[in-house]
Structure formats: C-alpha cells, structure tokens
Amino acid sequence: MSQKSKTRFMGVLLAVLSLFSAGQAQASGGSSEPFVPGDFIFDHIGDAHEWHILTWGETHVSLPLPVIAYSEYSGLHVFMSSHFHHGHESHDGLGLREDGKLVEVFEGQELVEVLPRVGPELFRSMVTTEGQEPDAATVELIASFEAGEYEKVAAQVSSFEILPYDFSITKNVLALFVSIGLMMWLFIGMARRYQAAPDKAPTGFWNLLEPLVLFIRDDIGEASIGKAKSHKYVYFLLTVFFFIFINNLLGLVPIIPGGANVTGNIAVPLVLALFTFVITTFSSNKHYWMHIINTPGVPWWLKFPIPLMPVVEIMGVFIKPFVLMIRLFANITAGHIVLLGFFGLIFIFGDKFGPGAGYGVAPVSVAFTVFLYFLKFLVAFIQAYVFTLLSALYIGMASEEHEHHGEHEHGENLAHTH
C-alpha cells in the first residue's frame, strides 16, 4: 500500500518536473535555440530584477520587484520591474542587459547631451578593450571626443551604456528580507514565549531551537572565546548562525519565497565576514598584535632582517575573514550548481537525443537530486556552524588574555638558544 502510494507520488513529481522542463526549455530556447546548461544554471543562481515563478508556454509568471537606481546623469529612478516586460523593453532610460544587469542606455539626442558629462577617461575605457591597442577608427573617435565634436561621436557610436548605482530590491534582496522577517518572527516569538512562562520547559518547536541556541552559547561561544568574555559576542554568533542556516535552508526550498541564492551571492558572505573582521579587530588586545609582529616560537631569522613572519601574520589578519567569505559562498554556490547540473542533464539529453532520452534520464537525475538535497541539508548546517565557529575562534584569539610573564620567558629562552 505504502509502496504503491510512494510510486504514485514519484510519478506525480516526475510529471511536474517534466512540465517544468518543457516550459524551461522553451523559455531559454525561444523556439529552436539549443539548451545552454551554463546559462540555465547561472540564471538560477544569479540575481534578478524580477522573481521568476513559472513559465508556461509563452507566458511568464513572475513577481515584479521594485527597481531603485541612481545615475549621475539622470538622477534617481524608482519603478516596478514589470515595466521591463521581462527584459524586452526599457523604461525611464533604464534597461536590462543580456547578463541581467541594469544599464542606462543613451541614444540619439540624449547621447549628444550626455557625452560632455562623460570624462575622457571613462569614454576611453568604454570604447577600448583593456590590454589591446585601439585601432585607427577608435583612435579617431577618441580624438574627436576630446575635440568636443559630440554630435560626430554620437553618430558613430549610436548607443552608449553606463551602469547606474543599482539599489533595486532584487530577488536576493527580497529573499534576504524574507529570511530576516522569518528570523525576527521566530526568535522574538521564542523570547515572548519564554518570558511569558519562564519556568515552563520548552515544548514543540522551541524545543528544537533551544538546543541550537545552547550549542552556540556553550560549545561555540564559551568554548572558543572563554566564559568570561563570550557573553559579549554570543549575540553576534547567534545571529550569524541562524542567519546563515535559515538562508541556506530557504535556498533549498524550490518555490517562492525560497530558492534565492542569498548565502551563495558573494555580497552576503562578504558583509558577514566584514562583521567578523570588524568585531575581531575591535576586540583585539595588545597581545594579539604583539603576537603578529613578534611571533613567539619562530626562529629570529624569519623576523629579522626580512620580516617574513610579520608579513605573513598581517596578511593572515585579512585572509581569515576572506576565507570565511569564500568558503560560505563557494559551498553554497557549488551545491546549487551541481544540483542544477543534474537537473540540466534532463534537458541536455532531451535536446540532443529527443524528448524520450530526456524522460529516460529524468529518474536518474531526480535520484541524484534527492541525494544532493540531503547533502545540501547537511551542508546548510555545517556551513552555518563552520562560519560561526571560526568567527568565534578568531574573536577568541584576538581577545585572549595571556599569562604575560610565562610567555615572555618562553620567547627569550628561544632567542637565547638560537
């Protein structure tokens, strides 16, 4: 009975997936363009100005998002991304480039007006390719630009794109807000519940969260920073852990409001690592810097006359948070890429050998995807844990109190032996 229902469920799942695939293939391919797995994958892990939900034949169902952009030439622009009609049209002088970036396009008379405000440096960089000698026509173009013959230049370049400062509420930004809202709802609710009945043992969902909170407080905070100081940093550790964990999990949910690649977008780990870096630096004590400048337990000739160790240690100060950023970004992005790669197999096979091959390979793809989902579930936790643990360790290292006396003696002894 249960076996039967399971098979039926799988059947439904496959049907849904193949519907999805049919739409996708059409969307990415228009009518007969081949399926490009790279575009398909990067489309999904990248950011977008609209939240694509479903494509059915020629109909695109997506959630329009607000575009907020500032340009030095045309000021502030605020409008809904639905005006772009999925990237086919431009609005208010702004349009979407092939790679999804918001660009400001100047053409015709506008171009003549805007060119004087573009400096010669920027103009030169835009018409030439870096590392290549400009050809004769380009040299002439730059010469006429510098001479102030803007109409002539405008006639030659026909259109001119610049990137405005894009503060749009993109898919990732919205997903970020959703996750933050979820966090606030969860933990402020938890706090309310705890305050309402402080003597009652936690039940249900809170019982799931409390061990995690305790785990971070005791096994990450207190273990890495020390009992005396960890209470100052435990709030940051808790926030970082649950932020990463919740966003990783939401990234696994395939439908809106999940499915955005928030922690896999370099900007998010960058900000998180920046917080770790700032907190580490501000909580560092004299000893930490002395350790960097004059590393104990290292032969003196590594420090003088060429300060090899100090240089390495100072680089380490920046490399540590940088590695935090890269680790989180790469793990989550790589997971998404592999997952989408297995999905892409269906369409690659369907494209190359006909729909039959696509359907044939689908069960294998789905099986791998299910396996990867479990793996990514684990990774979601592990990456949140690792980021928090390493942040705590770095903070602990920077703020650690040493037995000054003992350490000094140790260093001097070493100096004498060499």
Binding site: F42, I45, G46, D47, I68, D99, K101, Y165, D166, F167, S168, I169, T170, N172, V173, L176, F177, I180, M183, M184, F187, I188, M190, A191, Y194, Q195, P198, D199, E210, V213, L214, R217, V234, Y235, F236, L238, T239, F243, N265, I266, A267, V268, L270, V271, L272, L274, F275, F329, T333
Partner: protein, 164 residues
Amino acid sequence: MQLVTPGIGLLFWMLVSFSIVLVILKKFAWQPILKVIKDREDSIQHSLDAAKRVKEEMAQLQQDNERILAEARKEREGILKEARDAKARILAEAKEKATEESHKLLESARSLIASEKAAAVKEIRNQVVSLSVEIAQKVLQEQLKGSSAQQQLAEKFVKDLPLN
C-alpha cells in the same frame, strides 16, 4: 566573473538589514531568551542543591532521631534498673526491720514472761508461807498448845521446803 563581483545593491541592503537584525534580535530575542535560559539553569541548579541539602538534613535528622531513641532506651533501662534495685533494697530493708521487730517482740515477751514468772513465784512463795503458817498454826493449835519449840521446828521445815 560576475559571480564573484559583489553587487552594490545587495551589499548595501545586506549591510543595513544585517546591522538592524543584529541590534533588534540582540535586544528583543537573544537577551530575553538567554536570560530565561540562564535563570532556568540557575533555578535547576538551585533546586538540585536544595534537594541535596534537604537530603543531608534528613539524614542528619534521622541520625538525631536514632540517637535520641537510643538515649531514651538507655534511660528507660536505667530507670528500670534503678526501680528494680530500689525494690530489692526496700524488700531487704523491710525484711530486716521485720526480723528485728520480731526479735524485739520476742525479747520483750520473754522478759515479760520472766518477770511475770518471778512475780508469780514470789506470790506463790508468799502464799506458801502464809499457807504453811496457817497450816502449821492449825496443826500446832491442834497438837501443841503454845509451845515455842514446836513453832521453831515448823518454821525450819517451811524454810527447807523446795519450792523453786
């Protein structure tokens, strides 16, 4: 390359919203939650300590009880023993007194008897004397008329009479 180039928009929103979420969660979630957890831990520790203390106190109390019981038992035994001793002593004393009394009584009875006997003998002697005198008188009156020799003879007889 676009993948590893942070977009200014997300960077900005992330910086702003993460700072806000950090501050808000610290104030309205983590601090109250951790405080309640800490209080609960403290109260559990407190209760455990109290239970341990009460247990110790109970053991102490039980020990005291046993000690008091033992003492009471000992005291009872002492009292009983004392009572028994007292009984024996009283009995002995009474016996002794009684013996003494009886002795005394016997003694006094004996002396009384002796004195009575002496008095009786004395009286009998007097009686005998008077009787003998009377008898002799009568006899002499009958046989001897006023002869003093005879009177002296009679008296000598009476005197030698073994009356004791």
